[in-house]
């Protein structure tokens, strides 16, 4: 005897299928010509971006393309528009200037790096090749979070000579990577007046150096409940390469952080 609930599900499935042609959709707009207009104005950017910073015209072109890519985030949160206009070239991170870096309403969450695992298992849980900074050697902890699109990996390094303890994380250095191309609005950084945000580059890829007073970092996937992470973060270098967004959070200087970043395979 079949499960009566199952029977109902089958009937329901059929009912949904028969609803499909009658579903009250608004009429589909003609997007083809508008999309054509936009992509004709900005041809596909050349894959190599080395030398970008020395050529203002090329920079402007790539900037316009990336601005389009981030348009969604700007529409979603108009208050971030100014910040995006200046810092639009790393997907996965939005920087917001705020009067105070301290979150007013929401509680601060723990570091929450995801599940502790091995490098091999982490690799099988994410959709990008995990990069390990060769300058740092093997990490002291590998964490993976497969709850976000593409997954996120965090490599934790304990404090040691040359890598000072960071009070905010309890670690020496935290290196994380995720698919910024899939979740361009994953991380929001709220920086107060005591924090500087500086454009820089890592092997020719655009990057930001955020330093000074700790800033608030909010990681959230649209459509998921509550922020993933909401905490104070310290000096951070963030950059994107090939759709993957990388972040180094540490007590190191900008030069040291950039050197570590540049040594990635």
């Amino acid at each position: 005897m079949a499960d009566p609930r199952r029977m109902l599900d089958i009937a329901l499935e059929r009912a949904l299928r028969s609803l499909a042609p009658h579903y009250p959709y608004p009429s589909t707009p003609d997007l083809a010509s508008r999309v054509r207009g936009r992509i004709t104005a900005q041809p596909i950017a050349a894959p190599r971006r080395v030398g970008l910073w020395r050529d203002p015209r090329r920079l402007a072109l790539v900037a316009a393309v990336l601005l389009v890519l981030l348009g969604a985030a700007a529409v979603a949160n108009p208050t971030t528009r100014d910040a995006i206009a200046h810092f639009f070239h790393v997907r996965g991170v939005i920087v917001n200037r705020v009067p105070s870096p301290l979150p007013s309403a929401s509680p601060i969450t723990s570091l929450d790096l995801g599940r502790r695992t091995t490098m091999e298992q982490a690799q099988s849980s994410v959709t990008f090749p995990i990069a390990v900074p060769s300058a740092l050697g093997a990490p002291d902890g590998v964490y993976v979070d497969s709850g976000i699109p593409g997954g996120e990996v965090a490599l934790a390094y304990k404090p040691r000579p040359g890598i000072p303890l960071v009070r905010q994380t309890g670690l020496g250095l935290l290196f994380s990577e995720f698919r910024g191309d899939l979740i361009p609005d994953f991380i929001t950084k709220e920086v107060g007046p005591g924090t500087t945000v500086e454009e820089t580059s890592v092997n020719g890829d655009p990057a930001w150096w955020i330093a000074g007073e700790p800033h608030t970092i909010i990681a959230q996937v649209a459509g998921q409940d509550g922020p993933h992470t909401l905490r104070l973060a310290t000096n951070t270098l963030v950059w994107e390469h090939g759709g993957v967004t990388y972040r180094i959070e540490s007590g190191l200087s900008k030069a040291d952080a950039v050197r570590i970043a540049a040594g990635l395979p």
């Binding site: 608004p26 596909i44 529409v75 361009p184």
Partner: protein, 196 residues
């Protein structure tokens, strides 16, 4: 060219090389799907239109990262959903929309139509309204399978989940829909008997 569309892979390949005509053909082919998928997320036509347009532009610039030979449809769906989520309306507006659908159902019942047709209309309106009460993930997975006819493999790609979990997620969504439907709702007499 009309009526004999080149297959997706060929169009994608040409678009990757900067052929704007090829990409325009892809947009034409998938704009309805993109718009409707976006609408399932936003519940609002202007937001859905915006999201679909932005998704096509983003997808164009992301073609370099598109794996040659991979299916275009689920990849596009994922980009559309990301865009649409950025514009998703507030929970409040979703409730208003559900209420509007229920009102439509009530007026549909009052319309002078043959009894069976009225029954089917009322049933559909209730289904639509109840779908809007579901979590977005549930609504989307039901729409992918039952409205947009994505295969299980395509759904796994669109939802970024293992292929093995698609079936169970689908049946959980269906169960939640069933639980959300009014207890006294009767399936129209034809819905349970016709082959799907």
């Amino acid at each position: 060219m009309e009526g004999r569309p080149l297959d997706d892979a060929a169009l994608v390949e040409r678009a990757r090389k900067g052929d704007v005509n090829a990409y325009e053909a892809l947009v034409q082919q998938y704009q309805e799907l993109a718009f409707r998928v976006a609408y399932q997320v936003t519940g609002d036509a202007p937001d859905a239109e915006d999201a679909a347009q932005e998704a096509f532009v983003n997808a164009y610039y992301a073609l370099g990262r598109f794996r040659p030979g991979a299916p275009f449809r689920p990849w596009l769906c994922r980009i559309v959903v990301n865009e649409a989520r950025n514009r998703r309306m507030s929970a409040h507006r979703r409730v208003v929309l559900a209420e509007r659908a229920i009102t439509a159902q009530a007026s549909g019942e009052a319309a002078p139509s043959p009894e069976a047709a009225a029954e089917a209309d009322a049933f559909r309106s209730t289904l639509v309204a109840t779908l809007w009460q579901l979590r977005e993930e549930d609504r989307l997975i039901l729409a992918y399978r039952l409205f947009f006819d994505l295969s299980e493999a395509e759904m796994a790609q669109a939802l970024k989940c293992p292929k093995g979990t698609v079936k169970s997620r689908l049946s959980r969504a269906l169960a939640r829909l069933r639980e959300a439907l009014p207890a006294d709702l009767r399936l129209p007499s034809t819905a349970g008997e016709r082959d799907g």
